[in-house]
């Protein structure tokens, strides 16, 4: 018998207790699908960056298994590697065994949230953002007004010029702040926008949280594109944050809270579809079922809700565009939003829409299916890694020679807009729907 056999036997004999306890324990049934073939490695942005097994999908799953077996403590090392995961889920697309990695890593983070004590500042910040800010639209509005003043009063220019941000170590993060709109989208909640021409569908728009103060123009464009294509668009009042950021970070209690609100609001009426223009939100909204135990009333509500959830690009590509489009002679490249491609398995819909615009030439970017480093709040919590991935992304984006980068998620938009600035590529970054809106606007 070799040394390693002795090891395994010893483990079997002592059978230490699992390092997991409480709610949301990563399930054996989920991780047992992993046959550690390693086909995920080269698809993982952090593995590509560092070449460490610990920061690969296979290695992270192994760490989850080891903690469950009691061989590895739920301690600093585990937390570091699970934190460093982008949750981009490229590994899910690569995995032949069908491992639901996103579900596993989010459960692991829920375990960390319950069983690991983060430093005080981190705990306070997480609690504030996930439990006290994002679920409350009026608090977002207040904070947004403060930010708006900072950005427009000249204070931002002053702060940037003075170098104080650099001294505080905030320069990189400050650049990723979403620009705040003058007029928020909250005022549109509760409104209905009639279809132009014959009504082909009646849909609800999911408006999100931060998007309402920073992407109201994208929302307006979405409404214009949908109505122009024969959709009546309802923006239900009472809706709130989708909970994606919270769920990704392990604050599943907070995610459940907002999910309950949204389920009530959107299931009150019978829509043909519920539309989001944010792939990150859409991916979580389509998986609300993961938040509630199977067999419960909430789980069946979540199932009904999920069936109606559509990404804006998915819905439009399926419905078929009927609105006349003006010609736009433009070379564009498309960056896959991870949570659209890997989370929702939608690759063709956005490309189909872009190709439908007369004059638009779509040039594929090398490694378009790799994360840009935005990854929800990752660019704030793991800024250095995020910027390293962004640098790679902008290199490939520049190489396409396209003046416009198109993507399908607000987080990716912000990240790559910052990237275009930092790396001076001079490229404009827009949402698929915004580009569609531009060609609509010209034709009216």
């Amino acid at each position: 018998m070799t040394e390693t056999t002795a090891n395994t036997n010893q483990i079997a004999a002592t059978a230490p207790a699992s390092g997991f306890s409480g709610a949301d324990i990563p399930a054996y049934e989920d991780y047992a699908h992993c046959v550690h073939c390693g086909l995920c490695l080269n698809q993982c942005p952090t593995y590509k960056l560092w070449g460490l097994e610990a920061d690969s999908p296979r290695g992270r799953i192994r760490q989850i298994i080891l903690v469950d077996q009691g061989r590895l403590p739920l301690g600093d090392s585990f937390v570091q590697h699970i934190d460093q995961c982008l949750d981009c889920r490229a590994c899910e697309s690569a995995c032949p065994s069908g491992v639901q990695y996103g579900k596993l890593v989010e459960s692991a983070r829920a375990q960390i949230e319950q069983n690991y004590r983060r430093p005080l500042f981190s705990r306070l910040a997480r609690d504030f953002v996930f439990r006290r800010l994002l679920p409350y639209p009026h608090r977002i509005a207040i904070l947004a007004r403060v930010l708006y003043l900072y950005q427009r009063s000249g204070l931002q220019s002053l702060a940037r010029a003075s170098g104080i941000l650099g001294l505080l170590g905030l320069a990189d993060r400050e650049r990723l702040l979403p620009p705040i709109d003058r007029k928020f989208f909250f005022s549109s909640l509760g409104r209905t926008y009639p279809a132009i021409g014959q009504r082909r569908a009646r849909v609800a728009l999911f408006a999100g949280c931060v998007a309402q103060v920073s992407f109201s123009k994208l929302h307006e464009a979405t409404i214009r594109v949908l109505t122009a294509n024969g959709c009546e668009v309802v923006v239900p009042a009472g809706q709130t944050c989708c909970g994606a950021l919270a769920a990704h970070a392990g604050a599943r209690d907070a995610a459940r809270g907002v999910a309950r609100t949204n389920l009530d609001v959107f299931l009150k009426d019978d829509f043909d579809a519920i539309i989001t223009n944010a792939a990150g939100c859409g991916s979580t909204l389509k998986e609300y079922g993961h938040l509630f135990p199977a067999g419960t009333a909430e789980h069946s509500k979540a199932s009904a809700f999920q069936k109606k959830m559509r990404d804006a690009t998915e819905f439009l590509a399926d419905l078929g565009m009927t609105a006349p489009l003006a010609e736009l002679p433009l070379r564009v490249t498309y960056q896959d939003s991870c949570h659209l491609l890997h989370g929702q398995k939608i690759r063709e819909a956005p490309r189909k829409l872009l190709r439908a615009i007369p004059g638009v030439e779509l040039v594929e970017m090398n490694m378009a299916d790799y994360c840009c480093g935005s990854a929800g709040s990752y660019n704030v919590t793991e800024t250095e890694t995020s910027l390293a991935l962004l640098a790679e992304k902008m290199k490939h984006a520049r190489a396409t020679g396209a003046p416009v980068i198109v993507t399908a998620n607000p987080g990716c938009l912000l990240q790559m807009r910052a990237g275009a600035q930092i790396h001076s590529t001079g490229q404009e970054v827009v949402h698929v729907v915004e580009l569609l809106d531009r060609v609509l606007a010209k034709s009216h």
């Binding site: 070799t2 040394e3 390693t4 056999t5 090891n7 395994t8 483990i11 079997a12 059978a15 054996y28 991780y31 047992a32 699908h33 992993c34 046959v35 550690h36 073939c37 390693g38 086909l39 995920c40 490695l41 080269n42 698809q43 593995y47 070449g51 460490l52 097994e53 610990a54 290695g59 192994r62 760490q63 298994i65 080891l66 469950d68 077996q69 061989r71 590895l72 403590p73 301690g75 090392s77 585990f78 690569a94 995995c95 032949p96 065994s97 069908g98 491992v99």
Partner: protein
């Protein structure tokens, strides 16, 4: 591990290139196989010089060491069987030169197989060895294992595509063999090192041949209602001297899992399919495809389909190449065999495997390179069931013995590693094995480089070493 060695390694490579904490080391105890073994440290060199210094340190401290690429191997080649040090090549992953005119590339060992083909795609070239793990496995690993793949049938294995190597010998010396030319003077040392499974040297640079993409490619899918008809077709294609570029078989059991993953339109109600590819000049391809279709129909193929476009072709191949993993959907783990048999013995061998599966009450999926008789029976198991695992090992042994009995070999492409080294005496005489031992001793006299691999450790003739139960076996049901 000696703390002074760790300090010396850190002084040499920097703190970010040395792992020695238990939580990090646990992640290097596995690869793509069922084997386990934990190293005492892992280092990440970035140059041949660093590799050489690492080897010298290992010698000074008398520590065993071995190379590792992506850890996708299927015979435990990258497992630290005797502890010691893993030299991980994941950060030596640059393509150093692409010489399109001479159809050569010079790469570091950590370059991923498919990444090289992608990098030369715009030149109409590719790297021909295409192991099923090609989207993750490294060329250094391919060289060590002499990897094959579906297109081995027409293009040969890795050794046919390596023209030069830079190596660090077990005494730390850096040497070069071959170069860019196909033929070199003196001994064919490339041939000696390729496939030596990391027991003779560490590879630090590889010069490979690139292959021009064929003018035309046709991919056929032949669907059968019985396994016998399928294997008889392969037999007859061989007899008629038709040479496809690839000829792969997947049985119906495997196909059902695969189809759930790739949605390529594989029929889920069939007994087996053949995935056959023909390449070359357009006219020749048409003629070959017609001849193959005729043979398949003659042997009662229910349907012979030709992939309509590149997208469908890619999907069919994705299904084949990722078929092992797809079985993870229906079973927690599998034990994959790699036996080779003469193609003419396929029909009886498949029947024998079915008998063995029934005898041990196991499910065995069959996916393999039918064209060159390289079998991959996958025996499914749940590692929590110890009694079942014992049956898996026994069934594996019987399949292997059958392969040897019909005049075959233990491995087609996965290597001997620590999985099959005790079976070597089934194929080789003591004199043959002694010759191999002398070759190893010529380079690696202390046995410090990748110990416990390839050659039997002398545990008795034909004894099957029971593979370790994977760590997750400790989890109760």
């Amino acid at each position: 591990m000696n703390p002074q060695l760790i300090r010396d390694l850190i002084a040499l490579l920097g703190p970010k290139a040395v792992l020695s904490s238990p939580e990090d080391l646990m992640l290097y105890e596995y690869d793509g196989s069922v084997e386990l073994g934990s190293p005492k440290c892992v280092v990440f060199p970035s140059s041949a010089r660093e590799v050489s210094e690492i080897v010298r340190l290992a010698n000074r401290y008398e520590v065993p060491l071995l190379g590792r690429g992506a850890g996708t191997g299927l015979s435990g080649g990258a497992i630290a069987r005797d502890g010691g040090m893993v030299v991980a090549f994941s950060r030596m992953n640059r393509i150093l030169e692409i010489d399109a005119a001479n159809m050569r590339a010079v790469v570091q060992p950590g370059v991923v197989n498919l990444d090289l083909s992608r990098a030369v795609d715009h030149l109409g070239l590719y790297f021909a060895p295409d192991p099923s793990s090609q989207k993750a496995c490294t060329i250094g690993g391919n060289v060590s294992e002499n990897s094959g793949g579906p297109h081995t049938l027409a293009y040969g294995v890795t050794t046919n595509h390596v023209t030069g190597l830079e190596l660090v010998l077990p005494d730390g010396e850096i040497v070069r063999t071959g170069g860019k030319n196909l033929e070199t003077s003196g001994y064919d040392l490339n041939g000696l090192f390729v496939g030596s499974e990391g027991t003779l040297a560490l590879v630090t640079e590889i010069t490979v041949r690139l292959t021009r993409k064929a003018e035309a490619v046709k991919t056929l899918l032949a669907v059968y209602d019985t396994i016998d008809d399928t294997t008889e077709s392969v037999f007859e294609i061989t007899v008629r001297a038709i040479t496809p570029a690839a000829c792969e078989m997947l049985d119906g059991f495997t196909l059902r899992a695969v189809e759930d993953y790739v949605h390529a339109g594989f029929p889920k109600d069939c007994a087996a399919v053949l995935l056959i590819e023909v390449e070359g000049l357009s006219e020749a391809v048409e003629a070959q495809a017609a001849a193959i279709t005729e043979v398949c129909k003659l042997h009662r193929a229910r349907e012979v389909r030709v992939a309509r476009d590149d997208r469908e072709r890619a999907l069919l191949w994705k299904g084949r190449k990722e078929a092992f993993g797809a079985l993870g959907r229906i079973s927690p783990m599998y034990y994959v065999q790699d036996g080779v048999i003469p193609r003419t013995r396929l029909p009886e061998t498949l029947r024998r495997i079915a008998e063995i599966a029934a005898k041990y009450e196991l499910q065995i999926g069959n996916i393999f390179h039918a064209g060159d008789g390289n079998l991959h029976p996958l025996i499914l198991f749940d590692e929590r069931d110890r009694a079942q695992f014992d049956r898996v090992v026994a069934a594996g042994g019987e399949i292997m013995r059958h392969c040897v009995d019909v005049g075959g070999a233990l491995t087609g492409e996965h290597g001997i590693g620590m999985e099959k080294n005790e079976l070597m005496s089934l194929i080789f005489s003591p004199e043959d094995l002694a010759l191999m031992a002398r070759v190893r001793a010529a380079f690696n006299p202390e046995g410090r480089l990748n110990p416990g691999k390839v050659l039997p450790l002398g545990k008795g003739c034909g004894e099957i070493r029971i593979p370790h139960i994977p760590a997750s076996a400790a989890t109760p049901a």
